[in-house]
Symmetry: C2
Amino acid sequence: MTRRISKQLRIGKVTVGGDAPIVVQSMSKTDTRDIRATIDQIRELEDSGCEIVRVAVPDREAAESLATIRKSVSLPIIADIHFDYRLALGALKAGVDGLRLNPGTIGDKEQIARVVAAAKEREVPIRIGVNAGSLPANFQPRSPLADRMVNMALEQIRLMESLEFSLIKVSLKAFDVPTTIHAYQMIADKMPYPLHLGVTEAGLPRTGAIRSAIGIGVLLHQGIGDTIRVSLTAHPSQEVFVAYEILKSLGLRQRGPTLVSCPSCGRAEVDIIALAEQVNKCLEGVTRPIKVAVMGCVVNGPGEAKDADVGIAGGKGKGAIFRKGKVVDTVGEERFLEAIMAEINKIG
Amino acid sequence: MTRRISKQLRIGKVTVGGDAPIVVQSMSKTDTRDIRATIDQIRELEDSGCEIVRVAVPDREAAESLATIRKSVSLPIIADIHFDYRLALGALKAGVDGLRLNPGTIGDKEQIARVVAAAKEREVPIRIGVNAGSLPANFQPRSPLADRMVNMALEQIRLMESLEFSLIKVSLKAFDVPTTIHAYQMIADKMPYPLHLGVTEAGLPRTGAIRSAIGIGVLLHQGIGDTIRVSLTAHPSQEVFVAYEILKSLGLRQRGPTLVSCPSCGRAEVDIIALAEQVNKCLEGVTRPIKVAVMGCVVNGPGEAKDADVGIAGGKGKGAIFRKGKVVDTVGEERFLEAIMAEINKIG
């Protein structure tokens, strides 16, 4: 995969686009007016690996809260604005690092021009965040959804360019995965700005992670995308976890352990499901990249265990323990967990 | 996406390849010699939507068990064979619907020829199941892994073709997702047989579902793949669940409910996370396709709720209930769940 090279910009301290690493975003889900709760959640998000956080700004009190929130956290903050352009002006005044405007909910060109002027003065990027669920029904009603999303974004890009503003990022989110993929593919060649990827309203974690992994994964595998946000109906740190798993699966970022484990089958002579769960539990909280293989038999066991930093290939109640490709021990099933964790701690 | 049209074949009653629907496979994880447990698990798999089940055959007793298992279940059975070609002959004798041979563990050409002859006589397809973890170290050691996997499969295909056998299916599974994708992409143009997709040893459900969704999803989105198996270190019905979510996300199959739900944010005026979890719980066991939207505010709420079979767009402690695109009720937060489920039952 060759990456699409977009114009680079900065959201606060974080570089987005060009050849910068794919950035992981999420969103606070607390009431923004509850400053304490919002700061606490943003700090949790930072601990989980989130790199940019978006915060909803539903009213003036929320916009004003951003000043204190911004000063109390180290993650760059993007203000999420709908309906009222004055909230964008308030957020900029509060010192946010980025704005997200939804052209489906803020349509008036003069109002947008005022926001753009204020953002330009402060060199704050604006994301044109198109969402299938809030496209105006009267916007190109006969065109396919993906085309409508792309055209709405392009219209908004042209408006901002006519105002000599180029700190632009674009997103085109739909619930439907093929529609989302198609929209991003179409716009990727039509403009030079970074793309923020997401599948919107993807649902609860179990299914939402799958939808997001396909939508975001297909695009990243084609070299499209500069930042990602996984939308899950759950605590936002779960969004960050899934985002990293997507990036890790494609070799684009590293964070925390990677557990290779066999599905078990009628050939397994050890309880691989219980062992993998135990090892996984012991690895919780580890943030350095380490590859651990938990394998149940001799078919693929030695191959995968050799390839990992630490591995076990089980069989007949015993298991060979591998470290960096070499067998370092052979232990009985009752000592599997202990032996694996000992090797993991050795390469700490 | 235009689908790659492969040669069609039948695994028992199930058509694979060509323009047939993408087939969902899984594997029993019981001891195959424990006939009762294996039959029970295969029946559970059938209930969960599994369409073909693979069963490990580690020894002669397991091969002989297949006769009883085969007669007691309605799913087609594929015998998974490694190391000993006689187990393949035994499985064929027991009446299995397909064989999986791993060329990394059964290499002897004469032995393979004997299996092929017996399979041909019974018109039983053979999957050439290459796995990165069991590639012989001395097979093209200097080539990239994906090339080695492809070349091992092609060598085996040529052998079978030279024996005038063409009931072939191919898989090329690795843990590494880009390697897996690349291997399948390469072989797709080089031979006409159906492809069985999977990312091997993908791990526990939370992360394994993500790896599998990307690997399998990227390929299916390119039109590559005729059957899929999600490998998870968990009960196999979880593999089937994830497989359908992948296919549903790409619009390739339908099964059970699809829950569109917003991630919630600082704008939400109702507890959308709790509501989505409750609705999801009530939808457990529903196998007919139905799209339900649970949305927290007016930004995307009405748009997504209108687009679903049943939806709710919440706001300020109240919610508009949609059925097939029309508002049918407005209820207070305490009645959300009841009102949504009532509408779902109406369209039953």
